[in-house]
Each structure stands twice: as structure tokens, then as C-alpha cells.
Symmetry: C2
């Protein structure tokens, strides 16, 4: 049975705990990880686990939003890496067994707003 | 009754159709729109409608993923603006009446991957 919200929360909890056994147990063997911003793709549980184990920096996360439905979930996490904040948006697809078959991460960066809408917006 | 998936899909369909009456009918009067990347915030249905009506460029969208649960939804849309592609990640919160009370958009941009993970990734 699939529970995408619980699966996504367990994924992030395992990542934060560096509990790679629990993390790997959530992944399909043929999991595909994609980063559209860099057009990078990692195929397979072994390589994706390695990517996470090797990921540099003292990173920590909290889940700010999680939404799950059918075989899909989306999360919005607050990250800090060596004290630097970042937001991560992730989309998950589960297979029939409830394992994570695909993950797509976005790491949007700050930018200056274009001119012309100052009459409608405030800055925070 | 709230149906966050249907509401999010109706929101994007109305935006693509420039059907501002239908678009506005989905919004709470005190809707809050936030863009964390620029730290911009728009308060209220009138200002947020105006922001969308005035938004420059010939923009079009298709919804690539939608996930809804309880009073929350998340979408991932493919946009083109004057032919330029972009991805939009949006998180919606609905109020008790099922109207959209908050929208948070992310517009991640392409960047070059950091070195050190070429042994695990392919580019696409």
C-alpha cells in the first residue's frame, strides 16, 4: 500500500538522521533522481545513496510543507548548509509497492525582482 | 468543501485562459501571494488579480504535476514566456471555504553543477 505523505516524511527524516539504511529502504532499485536546473540525472539506488552519503557540507533540513496524493508527493524543505539557508522543492513518484521510483529536486536561488510591479508588491 | 487538486487545476486553467473572473472566484479576499526568491509579497485579491493581468510577455503554461491533500496543493508547471521555457513550483493553502488563502511560487533557474559528482551523474 502506498502512503506518499508518510513516505516523503520518512525520506527526509532518514536524510536528516544520515540513516542510510532507512533511506535506502524507501527507494526502488531503479530509482531515478533528476535536477532540472543542472540537467543532472542519477540512476539506481546504489548511485543515489552514494550521492547522498558523499554530499558535502553540514546540511540540515526541516520539512515546511508536504502534500501527498495517490502515488505522488511534493515537499518544500528549509535547508541550511554550513549555516547558509536554502529552499528545496521536491516531487516524488511512488511505484506500485510504495517505493520511491523518481525524485525531482529544485533548488531556487534568490534574485532581484524585475521593475514595474512595485505598485502591487511589498518586500519582506 | 475543499478539493485542493481541482482548485489548483482550475487556477492554472483560468490563468492560461486569461479568464480573470474564474481566476478571481478561486481566491480568498485576503489571499497572500509570496515569491521567496525575491522576497516579494502581494496582499489581497484585487492586487493579486492586477499583478496577473499586468504580467508582461506572452506566457503559456501546462501543469506537469499536481498533488493535493487536505487544504494543501502543490503544482509543477512548464511555462513558456515569449518562447523561453521556465519551470514554476507553487504551493497553495485553502481556507475553510475552499478558497485559495495563500500561494507561494518558486521560479528556479538553470545553473552549472558543482564539481565532484561526475562519477554518479549523467547530464540530460
Amino acid at each position: 500500500m502506498t502512503n506518499p505523505t508518510a513516505t516523503a516524511l520518512a525520506y527526509w527524516a532518514a536524510a536528516e538522521a544520515r540513516d542510510w539504511a532507512a533511506f535506502g529502504a524507501l527507494l526502488a532499485d531503479d530509482v531515478v533522481y533528476e535536477l532540472p536546473q543542472t540537467r543532472e540525472r542519477i540512476r539506481g539506488k546504489a548511485a543515489y545513496l552514494q550521492f547522498n552519503v558523499e554530499y558535502p557540507g553540514d546540511w540540515h533540513l526541516t520539512v515546511h510543507r508536504v502534500v501527498g496524493e495517490h502515488r505522488h508527493a511534493a515537499t518544500w524543505c528549509h535547508f541550511t548548509t554550513d549555516g547558509e539557508p536554502a529552499e528545496a522543492l521536491s516531487f516524488f513518484d511512488l511505484d506500485e509497492a510504495g517505493l520511491i521510483a523518481s525524485i525531482t529536486d529544485f533548488w531556487p536561488e534568490a534574485y532581484e525582482p524585475p521593475p514595474g510591479r512595485e505598485h502591487l508588491v511589498e518586500r519582506y
